[in-house]
């Protein structure tokens, strides 16, 4: 994904928003995407049974304009325009954003741009089968955003794969990752959820063929 900024290019006329405010101060707050994010690593990977790996991935941020913390956001804008994807089956699933990204090892200093937040996550395979990861989904609206003064961090996650017939266990970890400094919460989650919940996380290549029919 290549993004460029040209000062001479004016935004389209219909993208302007006029706000009337009563002497209120507005603040710009970073936020996480309003839909789950499907991440497709540059290189798919496999995780044998009983193994675990710690990784980081950078996700693009949203910017919200607020008058105060408790009021709804006056504006909620993506810093980059993301394409969309469907995660689930043809008859049931969720709409998500689609991000092509490079995964890094969890101990390495994360490689993130200023408009991105870093997610540290641990994947453990407790199933008896090999976990093949072509893409995976991050429940971004359920996570908090933190900052260590240098960069933004998402709430760390532990993803426990329990086999293709069972949903993956998603656990939100309280402690920030080792590579982060001292963090403070910048933005609470958009949607509340339990600290541990289950859901579909990992997807395989060709799971939803474009023809709409799967040939076996």
């Amino acid at each position: 994904m290549a993004h460029s900024y040209d000062e001479d290019v004016q935004p389209p006329e219909d993208s302007w928003v006029r706000l009337w405010l009563d002497d209120a101060q507005v603040s710009l707050v970073p936020a996480l995407p309003d839909l789950p994010v499907v991440v497709r690593p540059e290189q798919p990977f496999r995780l044998p049974p009983g193994h675990a790996v710690e990784l980081t991935v950078a996700l693009p941020l949203w910017v919200q304009m607020r008058t105060d913390d408790s009021s709804p956001a006056l504006l909620d804008l993506a810093t980059v325009s993301l394409s969309k994807s469907w995660f689930g089956s043809f008859t049931d699933g969720v709409l998500a954003y689609w991000v092509h990204s490079d995964l890094q090892h969890g101990d390495a200093p994360p490689n993130a741009l200023p408009h991105q937040a870093v997610l540290w996550f641990r994947v453990s395979n407790t199933a008896r089968e090999i976990l093949e990861v072509d893409h995976f989904t991050i429940p971004a609206p359920n996570l908090s955003l933190y900052s260590d003064g240098q960069r933004f961090w998402l709430e760390p996650l532990t993803l426990t794969y329990r086999g293709s017939r069972l949903h993956t266990q998603i656990q939100r970890r309280k402690r920030p990752p080792r590579v982060a400094g001292r963090v403070t919460e910048t933005t609470p989650p958009r949607e509340s959820s339990a600290r541990t919940f289950v859901g579909r996380v990992f997807g395989r290549r060709g799971e939803l063929p474009g023809l709409g029919v799967r040939f076996r």
């Binding site: 969309k84 994807s85 995660f87 474009g210």
Partner: protein, 281 residues
């Protein structure tokens, strides 16, 4: 005694204090009961809409309306001195007579019950029946009301829907759209396919998964026919279709890819020679 006097006497005898009070109570049931039933049904619908779908709220409010109206009718008849047991006995005989007289209506009512039980569609779904496509406004006792996209109100009897093939266009959350593209025989098909996929991937509303696909449909009379298959949410369907069609035309013009229209080659007796032209004067 004249007949007028006789009638007046009979009316006077009928209108005893007890009868008048029964009539008044029956009238009160009617006057208060019908609006109360309607108000109760509306209240139930309003409350259910906060938590349930439009379809569920509509069905529940209709059930409340019919039950409460039934209760009002029974109460009125009771006040007028009709016994429910006698009424039920008479209903058997009357039912046969009414049944013959209103076969179509009863068929529609029963079809309506099947439609509700089968749940092939719900309120707000977009359906297509007998060539009519529109949004379902309500599923009623006798008919289904549909708003077509050019804002016509269409009433389709329940029986007709049960007997016809019905397509629910918005049942599933995502839809595949198909764009037919014909290119000239001289074009490099691989390049065209890559360009079509690139156009689809650059359209933000076009879903990355299920992934866009290009199908080579065949060799047409004047073009190689391809089909671009892309997926979009049902809300974005038309927007994606318009945006992609516009972008394909723009990019093909930019890349010099010819979209042919039907044309005829005149054969002048030789495969390679041009058509001979002779100056007459």
């Amino acid at each position: 005694m004249s007949s007028a006097n006789l009638a007046a006497g009979q009316i006077q005898a009928f209108l005893t204090g007890q009868t008048v009070s029964s009539l008044l109570r029956a009238l009160l049931w009617l006057v208060a009961g019908i609006p109360a039933s309607v108000l109760l049904s509306r209240y139930v619908r309003k409350q259910l809409l906060l938590k349930y779908t439009q379809h569920q709220a509509l069905l529940a409010s209709r059930a409340v309306l019919y039950l409460s109206l039934g209760f009002v009718v029974v109460s009125v008849l009771d006040e007028l001195g009709f016994k429910l047991s006698h009424l039920l006995g008479a209903a058997g005989i009357v039912g046969v007579a009414v049944g013959f007289a209103s076969q179509t209506s009863i068929s529609n009512v029963i079809s309506g019950l099947f439609l509700i039980a089968e749940r092939s569609f719900e309120v707000d779904d977009v359906v297509s029946v007998n060539g009519i496509t529109g949004q379902v406004l309500s599923i009623d006792m006798l008919s289904v009301k549909i708003r077509t996209f050019d804002n016509k109100f269409v009433r389709i009897p329940n029986e007709t829907i049960i007997k016809s093939e019905l397509t629910n266009i918005t049942r599933f959350p995502i839809r595949r759209l198909e764009i037919d593209v014909g290119v000239a025989y001289k074009e490099d098909i691989g390049r065209v396919r890559d360009l079509l996929l690139e156009i689809a991937r650059n359209q933000p509303q076009c879903l990355n998964e299920p992934e866009p696909t290009v199908v080579l449909k065949g060799f047409g009379s004047s073009s190689v026919d391809l089909q671009l298959l892309v997926w979009a949410t049902k809300a974005d369907y038309l927007r994606v279709k318009n945006a992609l069609t516009e972008e394909i035309k723009r990019r093909f013009d930019e890349e010099g890819i010819e979209i042919p229209f039907p044309h005829v080659s005149l054969y002048a007796g030789s495969a390679t020679d041009p058509i001979p032209i002779r100056m007459v004067s």
